[in-house]
């Protein structure tokens, strides 16, 4: 029963059980072709982003987990602590990108259409309008120094939407345990740089709309 649940659960994260029960991770397939988001985001960027960057996070996350497993069994506390940053970087990279791919959609499958129903009204209630939310997320994204993510999130405790940013690959939960991501925009330069004629603010716009 538990095994069937493991196989059939709808998780964006692909896993398999290793020899000693250590769960390691593999690159999830995209639910669309690399070129399907053009012209908003180029096929070249999507392929590099998925096959190189996301794969590297997974490879390094698995390596860190194996080292962690070994350190835990040996009772090596200082190695366990030392591995935390590699786990946060690479595990966070895997978590964040898995959310990112799932939230994007080609135009033909509804990508870019304004939100409806409860999300649409929650946005209007909290931010005034979709345009106001887009403007706020663009401003936060542009203000982020270095690498990171901009998020639209639900604060489960306060029961409303928030816009938040995280640095590097820190998952949203590092900003508050009650935050649940709704939309994440990758503002690492690798996410948009090859489309150099696309300005950064255009990337933020199209990324947001593709996920909504």
């Amino acid at each position: 029963m538990a095994l069937r649940t493991l196989i059939t659960r709808k998780s964006p994260i692909s896993t398999h059980l290793g020899f000693r029960g250590l769960q390691t991770f593999s690159l999830p397939d995209l639910p669309y072709d690399y070129g399907a988001l053009e012209p908003a985001i180029s096929g070249e960027i999507m392929q590099l982003h998925h096959q190189k960057h996301h794969q590297a996070y997974i490879t390094n996350y698995n390596k860190a987990l194996e080292q962690l497993d070994s350190a835990i069994s040996k009772g090596d506390a200082s190695t366990v602590v030392k591995l935390q940053s590699a786990i946060k970087f690479n595990g966070g990279g895997h978590v964040n990108h898995s959310i990112f791919w799932k939230n994007l959609a080609p135009v033909l499958e509804g990508g870019g259409e304004p939100p409806k129903a409860s999300l649409g009204s929650a946005i209007d209630n909290h931010f005034g309008s979709l345009e106001a939310l887009i403007q706020k997320m663009n401003a936060e994204g542009a203000a982020l120094q270095g690498s990171g993510w901009v998020w639209l999130a639900v604060d489960k405790e306060l029961k409303h939407l928030v816009v938040e940013t995280t640095a590097n690959q820190d998952p949203l939960v590092t900003k508050g345990p009650s935050l649940v991501p709704v939309i994440g925009i990758d503002v690492w330069e690798h996410a948009y740089y090859l489309q150099v004629f696309l300005s950064f603010s255009s990337y933020l716009n199209v990324s947001f709309l593709a996920q909504v």
Partner: protein, 225 residues
């Protein structure tokens, strides 16, 4: 605070000029080809570096920072790690000046003279230094820089890495060499392949003359304090 930037001609006149200027690299934008493309220089210097300068000027106009030297603005806005909003722009202006001057056409290879002796003394060999420098640059997660620096208190050369805009000026080291590992520095030419970029940088771009003269200035300055 003693200026640590004798090698940057700009700062000696800073008290007179209120506006920070965008300094051009000491070579044409295509001079580093094929190792660093003209397109990269056009974007990296022409857009990124220029934006840091323009945005810094907008931020400091009418404030107490207006009219100060760039180095003074950097230390002031670093604020012992509790960064003021203009730190990123100020430090990035300086970092990029320093980066362009760290490279030259026909660069790379191995240094000589006192610099090579000190590298051998403090790292064991040039190869050991190169490995440590490339490793620091490759493992700086996210955006940042790797540096060869001189630590005056210990009279020693060190390799360090810094995140985002942080630089050795605020860490009390004398910077001697840097490589930019923000993705914008290498993405057009190397995409995700940062290690390849670092190899090309070491083999073909480093200006050891610049590093050597910075070392002389650093030692002279240390002797005065």
């Amino acid at each position: 605070m003693t200026s640590r930037s004798g090698f940057s001609a700009r700062s000696s006149n800073e008290n007179v000029a209120a506006k920070i200027e965008l300094k051009a690299p000491p070579y044409p934008l295509d001079a580093l080809e094929p190792h660093m493309s003209r397109k990269t220089l056009e974007f990296h210097w022409g857009k990124h570096h220029r934006s840091y300068v323009d945005n810094l000027n907008k931020q400091i106009v009418g404030t107490e920072l207006h009219g100060k030297t760039l180095e003074a603005i950097i230390v002031n806005t670093y604020n012992k790690g509790d960064l003021h909003p203009s730190f990123n722009n100020a430090a990035q202006v300086w970092n990029h000046d320093f980066f362009w001057e760290s490279m030259k056409p026909g660069g790379g290879g191995v240094p000589n003279g006192e610099l090579l002796e000190l590298i051998k003394r403090d790292f064991g060999s040039f190869e050991e230094f190169e490995k440590e420098f490339k490793t620091a640059a490759a493992t700086q997660f996210g955006s940042g820089w790797a540096w060869l620096v001189y630590k005056a208190q210990d009279n020693k050369l060190l390799v360090i890495k810094t995140p985002n805009a942080v630089n050795p000026l605020v860490l009390d080291y004398y910077p001697l060499l840097t490589v930019d590992v923000w993705e914008h520095a290498y993405y057009l030419d190397f995409q995700n392949r940062r290690p390849d970029y670092l190899s090309v940088f070491m083999e073909n771009l480093v200006s050891w003359e610049a590093v050597s003269s910075r070392l002389q200035l650093a030692k002279a300055q240390a002797a005065q304090t």
